[in-house]
Symmetry: D3
Subunit: 340 residues, 6 copies
């Protein structure tokens, strides 16, 4: 039986209600999320056993964070405890020409001060089929690159499929550090998910942008980039999310999957956004779901793309959509008619 | 003087705030509605005497439901009391590619267990000019088809105009039952409102759909269907709503009225939706309003279409728009400039 | 050092939450605003010293109104106290084809009953570089035209730049009164901001509208109008806001600045509206900001137009956007990508 | 058949949520109330036909105010329309040692500018058995004392029982004006309700207070005062509310009724307050209800006292309690055990 | 290792916010609860393995109900699916003299139509140490008494401790049915929890009440009643909750435990209530916790009483308090000083 | 002219609404506070010039914190910028026997990493008459004791009155560190405010507690302690807050002031709590206000005690009460009767 293990941070998200600016807020809507946690929630509500690994301070707020994951069925048996504080981020939702604003407060946290002995990977990976982490995890603390590598090594040893979403965040580390560390981890990775810009920045593999700096849906260019990446790191599959930002209220969203020497392209969705945060995470989670269900590559990609389309119509960071709802979109029912 | 009598169910609607999914809600916004009740609220706030007939359990929640209708001036002198519970439905509002979800909880209710003696139609129709019911009412309980027919018979006897919105709901009864029952009631009906799909399903009268299953604004086809329906059941008028669903956030909306052997078509509105529930009800209510005001057919249809356009920009199920606001839209002021 | 003085009304705004109609509201969201106050808030949060002059009753609600302005740094040292009540207005936000509705309750207020001795302009203008008022202020009370003229005279004497947003409100006075009074004040004004319709109504200077009554972005026509206005009143600059209302949910917004015998045109923004109230005020405030920063005319206009575009993506009447955010839009980053 | 007519003001109440101070509020909870309207709402929800007479401006906010009364079944067939604005008051709820604060904004309203021809008392009183007004109505405008007297005269002519709650408000008029006007109206009044302080101030009839200025439950003193009042004005009955304020959170509440030459005293309730506004109005409404139901004097008083006790456990100004609930309290079930 | 199995209903609770009456509510706060579910949530958040057994319709609302229990760690592996609807109840919170009102809507539900084959008790009880049910479960449907007996029989066979909270609800069945059914189940029960009134009604065992019908803390009388019950049914332990209702806002709460032929009495708490619902359930859960931890009888009772005291200071039905917090109260720290 | 300078931390407070536990919250009410900031807000809204000195990271959340202080008129000209994050604390409000819970997240903040050169005390104290800090400030970071001493030295040099609220927080430092540091700062202090327990812990000066560990209002014991403290450190005045915690919902509150060799005692208030946080800060702020107004010692103490009584009836940390409201309570009007 399959089980997916994720390793990363868990943050308290604080957002002004609706379209209020920070300056207008008298209360913050809260939820608890993180790139890998978001993926596991999606998998868990769709029936996949999961295990989320992180390190949290032992206080009442961490209890809330864990209760939120547990609510959706995510396994939490290997959470380590310690550190001064839980990570947080403030999100102000944008609209039209006004961009969303994020203020991070993720230093000095439980995971930032983790050490290798906090995690017993041998026991964690018991019964696991997939391991997923993102490029956000290594820069969280001085020991994190090493811990990630240790996890990868143990996963590799057990024949577990390793999935990595590249996700470069310039606020967390320099391009040099990111490039060096991620290149070191790539040999362990089986499935890589990335965006055009990150591939260029970290691996020097360029794909053409549109005139206004947006992703251009030119399958050939992405296929070539995926091929080149595969050549360098022997990935089993490489996937790209393809985004065209119209405004903070509307976006066009698609994806490409390169596997078995072939590129597959998904249809594009023009999305009237409810909450774009977690869009990329839900794409990765959708890919893992498709792999676990042994969908063929086109269906896997279509599922992942439709899943991440639906995510962006859902408030907060989790993709609380169900496989049957996603399949409906995949099948072409994407007009949002009432389901009674 | 005119008075409009409606007969149907009254439900508690429970909706997560904004675009939350059910799983995210910690409170539900509530209102009380029902197809016929929605129509009467619109008529009442626009000065038309109304009477809503239903059966409700005698408890504090029914009191709330009635207070809500009374607030807008709907007459409630003939409500019957009894039964275990009030009907409810849960509505999760969709967005973009994510459809709205509805969970019904309308069995075992006051009206479901009604019997003919609960309603004294002779007294109810005192002073009435119109009687309206929808295809939702007959399947609510075993005695309901009979009660509807009795009401129609009495209305007919008094020369009251009978308006029926076909409104087939597959969750309430089978196509066979619906077709048989509604065909039996049609001879009483003067004005029929229906959608393309329902006409096909219940009466076997097909009109062409667009490639993606949406209504196609082909007036000729609808006019032919209306003509055929009129031929079969001797309707005074037949009206169609014409909808094209772009997404859960946007729709195109229009209507067609066939009367006096002639078809009238309304302009179409592209609507950025606030709440689409009750759109069809408001179209029917607009037609009744136009008939009561003796508008000519084109104006009647234009009024009904503009009314139902405005409804979909208003939260919850009632069409809380006023005739002067609707006439402004009819006159071409449909750009939503601020009115001071 | 620059300081901007504004003179006008301060109102309590009462709005149903979200897209509720008045009839649906059980609470009103509140804020305190006014055309000139809105401008000063924008300037104050962007580091410009400001002074807001008005007259308010001496009660707890006025305290709230002033605390709200003080919060953003607006100077309040010259507020006069007296009168029975604070002004209020009720705003119901429209959507799609449904227009916003405003009910004013601004009679019998503190400022409406002001007298010349309430304001010591000599002391108020100490250290000021700009004085701004709108066409809303003179009609607020019988003494207001005189007070406005006195303020203008004193400002002129001191060489202060006088900025006037024409802003004709038919609910406050007749066209005749408005035309006569505003024509009398124009000789003092250095910078005039107006809309196409107001220029036509008050000064008889016509510019062509589009077929559906919207502003047409024909720079030549506006330039000609500006030139004619400048000829008549010796303005230093004349600016027009150019608006095309698509619906209550979407608008197209641009502007034109005529100065030094030359017309400058801004790019147009298609805005998915959050709250359109205060759009014009933020354009004027943006112009003042550009003038204070000695931007060249094109940049001044671009800044003002982008500022007022962002305003309309922000809840309530204040333009709580910052110069660096506006410059980003001016620079072409108008797609609302997340800023971390 | 009985019908109760009330004449007075209708106000928009604006309150910060919970125990927020005005300075903390970002939204106001709203409801629409007024002393006489409050009474009629209680009577209407308990099955008594009612008619509320007032004058309101013809705008969307008045529509909301009327919808709120209509919701509870209050008759509104004789409302006059006109004037600039609807009255409003701001209420900040106190707690413990912190008193509630009220800011009135009730000048220049529809009723303040009413004239005698706005009300056709002959038609209004058709079928009425009781007329109720309070000492708040006469000072609302220059014509109001005359209009009140005209109403009383017509009521008297028809043998309608006239009920008056003395309710002196020092913000509305001077003691001299109040005393002169109310003394002039007293000869028409059949049932007078008043507090200790008002009786002393307006009619010079003193009753002893407790050491800290609170009402002292000395029945003899109140009975003597009532007797003296009855001697002077030939009242049918006189009732006193007896209050002992412990804090803004707790109060002791009782009442005394003098009728037929005898004084009746109610038990006292120590109330943990939810909202004390409307406590006096609900006492008067309870007395009217008891009179209409022909309860004996003790039961009438007990009902009125229990009704006003329950009111103070209910949010906002209306006494939304039902006769069966009140009788339960009267019968001694005042411990608030859950009713399933 | 211990595991506690509970069997009963799961309801959607719908409550107006704060102290609003039903008639005032525009939204309902929701949570999902049930007597046995409440107990298991408390045990689960305090580290005890649990399993909740019920039958639910297979729809989105049931998903929400289960997610809520899962969030707190309650096991849900044996939930049966089927039936038309989920149970609901409406709760209006009382205050001071105004009692809370409950409207039940728990007929025709999933559990009401359960049949024996829905539950495989042999598998359910795998690894269980305790089984708990209340007197609410048997009357829920025609097959429920039989199913309860079957569960008891299987539990007995396995030596599982059976705990029953008598909890008679007159809205669900007659006294005769209740008495007959519960007497039939008692021989299986090891630990009985009941109130004074229920013991009298169902088993004819009277204990003296105080003058006003409240529980009187006369340990001797309760001890005698417990002794008599133990004599009749061979209970291992019998516990009473002792309540004195001061008002809907304040209560006095205590308990008595009779075990090993000896009676233990807890200290009484005067509680300023936040939400009294679930008080009894939390007492039973506290007893089970004490038994599992092998506390001595006095400590077990003290823990249960303090736990149920804290519950009543917590919103909604679950006792979200932790063992360390309860022990603090047991130790005498019951003054609510801030814990930093 | 007087000006009060305060130096300390500014925190984001995150609280579940109402009486929700952390585990129940889906949003947090926010405000920005800190012991010294709280004091200055009170002084500022009562007309006293103030200056708040702290160090904050340069981000959008700090902007919100400062806007909140500016709103009430607090001077912010000397705020230093730097550091990773703003401090935060989570507050769960208790009720009855359930204590409030606080989780601090105040490490690694702007002020924690401040260095002496961030503050130019010479310029900061320009025009100041009083300097206030609390025992919370020194332990915030390694340089803070030194910075506090430097500020005291400069204040002393200028003859500024130094006020210190002892406020020992065991989560921030050990008793040893606190004792050593605070003893070192005491020689600078003119006015010391402390609680019984802190005086004992830090200075070894014991006063008798009541049997249950609460403050006992034994003036003689406190006077002796104050005398001893004055003897040791040559204070101008020493003040004690006297608290008796009844529960998380109710408290008894009083104070004692020792000055000029004489002890003054305030009346005690039994407070039904709205929010107890900031009670001590408001006492200190009240003392400063009384000193600035040159009240005699008894009036100064009465004012401070009444001020801090009112604070605890107000939501959140600021004492938003006005001098006239406080004087009313001082004068004996402490029953919370409505003020119109």
């Amino acid at each position: 039986m399959a089980k997916v293990v994720g390793f990363g941070d868990l943050l308290l998200r604080l957002s002004p209600p609706g379209y209020q600016r920070f300056l207008q807020a008298t209360n913050f809507e809260i939820n608890y999320s993180g790139a890998e946690a978001n993926m596991l929630v999606f998998l868990a509500i769709n029936g996949i056993p999961t295990e989320f690994v992180t390190r949290l301070p032992d206080n009442l707020i961490s209890d809330c964070a864990m209760a939120q994951l547990r609510r959706f069925g995510v396994g939490l048996s290997h959470v380590a405890f310690g550190g001064d504080r839980i990570a947080a981020y403030y999100l102000e939702k944008g609209a039209s020409q006004r961009p969303s604003r994020i203020v991070y407060d993720r230093k000095h946290t439980g995971i930032a001060t983790a050490s290798p002995e906090d995690f017993d990977w041998n026991s964690i990976f018991e019964g696991a089929s997939h391991f997923v982490f993102t490029g956000i995890t290594p820069p969280l603390g001085p020991n994190l690159p090493g811990i990630c590598e240790e996890a990868c090594r143990e996963a590799k040893r057990r024949g577990i499929t390793i999935v990595c979403d590249l996700n470069y965040r310039s606020l967390l580390w320099s391009l040099e550090d990111a490039s060096r560390t991620m290149r070191q981890l790539m040999p362990y990775v089986d499935v890589l998910i990335c965006g055009r810009e990150d591939a260029a920045k970290l691996f020097g593999i360029e794909t053409p942008a549109s005139a206004d700096g947006e992703d251009t849906p030119d399958p050939a260019a992405y296929a070539a980039a995926a091929e080149e990446l595969t050549r360098q790191y022997a990935f089993q599959s490489v996937a790209f999310t393809l985004r065209e930002t119209i405004s903070a209220s509307d976006t066009i969203w698609s994806g490409l999957l390169y596997t078995g020497g072939k590129a597959y392209v998904a249809r594009g969705y023009r999305i009237h956004l409810v909450d774009r945060v977690g869009g990329g995470d839900s794409f990765t989670a959708g890919l893992i779901y498709g792999m676990l269900k042994c969908y063929d590559p086109q269906h896997t990609l279509d599922f992942a793309t439709a899943a991440s389309c639906l995510k962006q119509t859902i408030e907060q960071d989790f993709n609380l959509s169900f496989a049957d709802e996603i399949e409906l979109v995949v099948s072409g029912e994407a007009t949002g008619r009432i389901r009674r």
